[in-house]
């Protein structure tokens, strides 16, 4: 779940544990299966996930257990994806303690297909081939190894848009119509120009943009090749696409358009409700995050418009079955059902995670979100999903991204020069990959 990116930071995780422990406990007690039917074979399937995939929230486990008496589903959940990934790696290395179904974030899928294909089950053995037409092409190919093994089924994708505060726009004298805005910021330069206009008349303590890190992240999501080329070589240093996203972010930082917040930090979270920024680039899963942080008082103040500079994708997840799983066949049946169009559409209605299945996209194309001023999110994100490039993924995508955004934060928060920050980023990447 891309929301788990949100929880990349340990603070978020611990904050969640400390503050919402009771809430989580309440969620956890929801599925209490009564497997007294005894019809057929009794199987307990374990599902280990991170963030919020929304299966439990959308009632999918209960539904599946009703459809398949004798199957009991137990889900364990780690809030922070980075923590989840660490523990999954440890268990894969040791070969024990693995669940029947493990979630994998899209930023990690290349590591699975390139480094650990022998540790996950090839789903073609269960006939996954016939599902190919059901998924977006990019989603399917990312989980396929070079020799054609299919190691995961896609749950959601992260088509990108731009969320903005209509009340702040009004105060600064900017148009608030999402169609008009989409025209004005059809390019990123247009977006920055509008930002400068906003800055002139904006309310005090309110910036145009939350952080240059999110700007960079969403821009890089519009590119086909980012840190690696199709041959698997690291190319971020010479890739003009990275350069463009970097330079635009630096421009935004130097023009003072950002609120200088660190994404996923507690301060960033507080700023949603405080109105510290007027726009935030938002992949589909970010909607749920905005609602959570801005709270009920933000209802109707937010809106969603098309992203400047074309369509892109940021985030999305997979369900995979480790080789060491106990009930592989039953697990496959479960993930096939969970990722089917009907179920993905239900998760979108409930949780906002955008479906990776093309059939489900058609089902939700007329969805609107009252929280975001009734924005036609089904159409906006649907169009973005259709036009998103097929991204080339690499083993260290996540880490390289982290180093580059860290360096951009130095430009944003400390006024370091672009060249110097770039050198820092290169050193950081060498440290990660070396």
């Amino acid at each position: 779940m891309p929301i788990a990116r949100a929880a990349k930071r340990a603070t978020a995780r611990l904050g969640a544990v400390v503050l919402t422990g009771a809430l989580l406990a309440a969620c956890g007690s929801g599925a209490s299966p009564d497997s007294s039917d005894g019809a057929g074979e009794e199987v307990t399937l374990t599902v280990d996930l991170f963030g919020s995939f929304g299966f439990k929230e959308a009632g999918l486990y209960e539904e599946y257990q009703k459809l398949h008496p004798g199957v009991t589903i137990k889900q364990s959940d780690t809030q922070d994806e980075a923590d989840y990934w660490k523990s999954l790696q440890t268990r894969l290395a040791g070969g024990g303690g693995l669940a029947d179904v493990q979630g994998v974030e899209v930023g990690r899928i290349a590591s699975v297909t390139q480094q650990q294909s022998d540790k996950f089950q090839d789903l073609k053995a269960f006939g996954a081939d016939k599902l190919k037409g059901q998924f977006a092409e990019a989603k399917w190919s990312a989980a396929t190894t070079k020799d054609g093994k299919v190691l995961g089924l896609g749950t959601d994708v992260g088509p990108e848009a731009m969320c903005f505060r209509t009340d702040l726009f009004q105060q600064a004298g900017l148009p608030t119509d999402r169609e008009e805005l989409a025209k004005k910021w059809s390019t990123w330069d247009g977006y920055l120009e509008l930002g400068k206009e906003y800055k002139k008349k904006a309310p005090a303590q309110s910036a145009w943009l939350d952080s240059v890190g999110s700007l960079y992240g969403v821009m890089i999501g519009q590119e086909k090749e980012r840190y690696y080329n199709a041959a698997g070589e690291m190319i971020y240093e010479t890739n003009p696409a990275v350069k463009t996203a970097w330079d635009t972010s630096v421009k935004a930082a130097e023009a003072g358009l950002s609120a200088k917040l660190d994404q996923w930090s507690p301060q960033w979270n507080q700023a949603f409700a405080a109105g510290s920024f007027a726009t935030i680039p938002c992949p589909a899963w970010m909607l749920c995050y905005v609602k959570g942080q801005a709270g009920a008082s933000g209802q109707g103040k937010w809106d969603v418009a098309k992203l400047p500079g074309g369509a892109g994708n940021w985030g999305g997840s997979y369900l995979a079955i480790p080789r060491a799983a106990k009930h592989k066949e039953e697990a496959y049946k479960l993930i096939e059902w969970l990722t089917a169009p009907e179920q993905q559409a239900k998760v979108f209605q409930k949780q906002g995670n955008f479906p990776s299945s093309t059939g489900a996209i058609a089902k939700i194309s007329d969805a609107v979100d009252p929280y975001f001023s009734g924005a036609p999110i089904g159409r906006i994100f649907g169009d973005a999903a259709k036009e998103s490039p097929v991204q080339v993924l690499g083993v260290h995508d996540q880490n390289v991204m982290q180093q580059l955004t860290n360096a951009l934060s130095e430009v944003e928060r400390k006024g370091v020069s672009s060249d110097k920050a770039w050198e820092t980023a290169k050193k950081g990447v060498a440290n990660v990959t070396g």
């Binding site: 930071r9 978020a12 995780r13 400390v18 507080q270 405080a274 928060r413 440290n431």
Partner: protein, 333 residues
């Protein structure tokens, strides 16, 4: 194993023992039992301490040695099966690794920033607590409360207090006209913030240790000093401090070890495993964690772990040496 089953299983080896000359005065019936009792009495201390040493071997010594072994290889968690021999290259690489030196420097500066004020304040606090105060027990318990708080909870609260935009501390210093400080980004500011958390948590703990030490100083010394006309401050300098020397050495050593291993506070302060955007408050412990569990370079992380271990041994050794030399000088006077 229950005691009865020991007794049942016992006789056989015991009889062999009694055959090779048991002690005098034992009857044919109770002889073996007595011999068993005797041998048990000899062996029992070892049996009692065995659990600790078994656990120590399994969870202390073995990991220590295995870490040393791993530190000689290139090991990545994702492909942990393929170990590539690197010899001491993991160690030599640290000498040219600027992040390592940054972390070492940060560990030192944060260590000094937190340990020195912490121990000084603890000493003063203990001195005050040593007076006859109303509600003494309550106050003494209260100073220990920060120590009982978990690192995570304390750090999260402090992270809020030190917030740039909505933090209480910036609000308060704003009242006296000092501009908002970006506690997370500035090198000195962030290190002070992290040190503050450490000081808050450990001052009371050290104060109680000092208090215990102070109470073992004979009261007559204070009385004698008072009769000689020594002020409270003079009493503190000339009676309390010399009497507390062993206690102070102990707290300095414990605090040094703690400062070298500092991890939770900087990790949770901003939630960054890099110790901030420019590694400005990344300690050695955090750097090890970043290498091992952020980047999955287990070999390199193991090397850092060993360097930290050696560093602590050296620091403690130096501390002990200084303390002993001072003690000898005192004795020679």
């Amino acid at each position: 194993m229950s005691p009865t089953s020991t007794a049942k299983a016992g006789p056989r080896p015991a009889r062999i023992g009694s055959g090779s000359g048991s002690g005098p005065g034992t009857g044919p019936d109770d002889g073996p039992a007595a011999a068993l009792r005797r041998s048990w009495r000899k062996a029992s201390p070892y049996a009692y301490i065995a659990p600790f040493f078994t656990l120590f071997l399994a969870f202390g010594l073995f990991p220590l040695l295995y870490t040393a072994f791993v530190s000689l290889y290139r090991v990545e968690l994702q492909t942990s099966g393929d170990m590539e021999w690197r010899g001491i290259a993991n160690y030599t690489a640290l000498f040219t690794d600027e992040y390592f030196w940054t972390a070492l420097r940060n560990t030192f500066t944060i260590g000094v920033l937190s340990t020195v004020p912490q121990l000084a304040m603890a000493l003063g606090l203990a001195h005050l607590l040593n007076y006859k105060l109303r509600g003494r027990t309550f106050i003494r318990t209260a100073v220990l409360l920060p120590y009982a708080t978990s690192v995570a909870a304390a750090t999260l609260v402090f992270a809020q207090l030190f917030g740039r935009d909505f933090g209480l501390i910036n609000y308060v210093i704003g009242l006296i006209g000092v501009g908002p400080v970006d506690w997370q980004t500035g090198t000195v500011a962030s290190q002070i913030a992290v040190s503050t958390i450490v000081i808050w948590r450990w001052t009371g703990y050290n104060a109680l240790i000092y208090l215990a030490g102070m109470q073992s100083i004979p009261h007559e010394l204070y009385e004698a000093a008072a009769i000689d006309g020594a002020s409270r401050w003079r009493q503190f300098i000339h009676v309390t401090l010399p009497g507390l020397r062993p206690t102070i050495v102990f707290t300095v050593i414990v605090s040094t070890i703690g400062a070298t291993q500092l991890f939770g506070e900087p990790l949770l302060f901003e939630g960054s495993i890099s110790g901030g955007i420019s590694h400005q408050y990344q300690t050695l412990g955090l750097y090890m964690y970043e290498q091992g569990w952020g980047f999955f370079h287990l070999g390199r992380a193991a090397a850092i772990a060993w360097v930290m271990f050696v560093l602590i041994v050296v620091l403690v050794g130096v501390n002990a040496l200084i303390a002993r030399r001072r003690a000898r000088k005192e004795a020679g006077r």
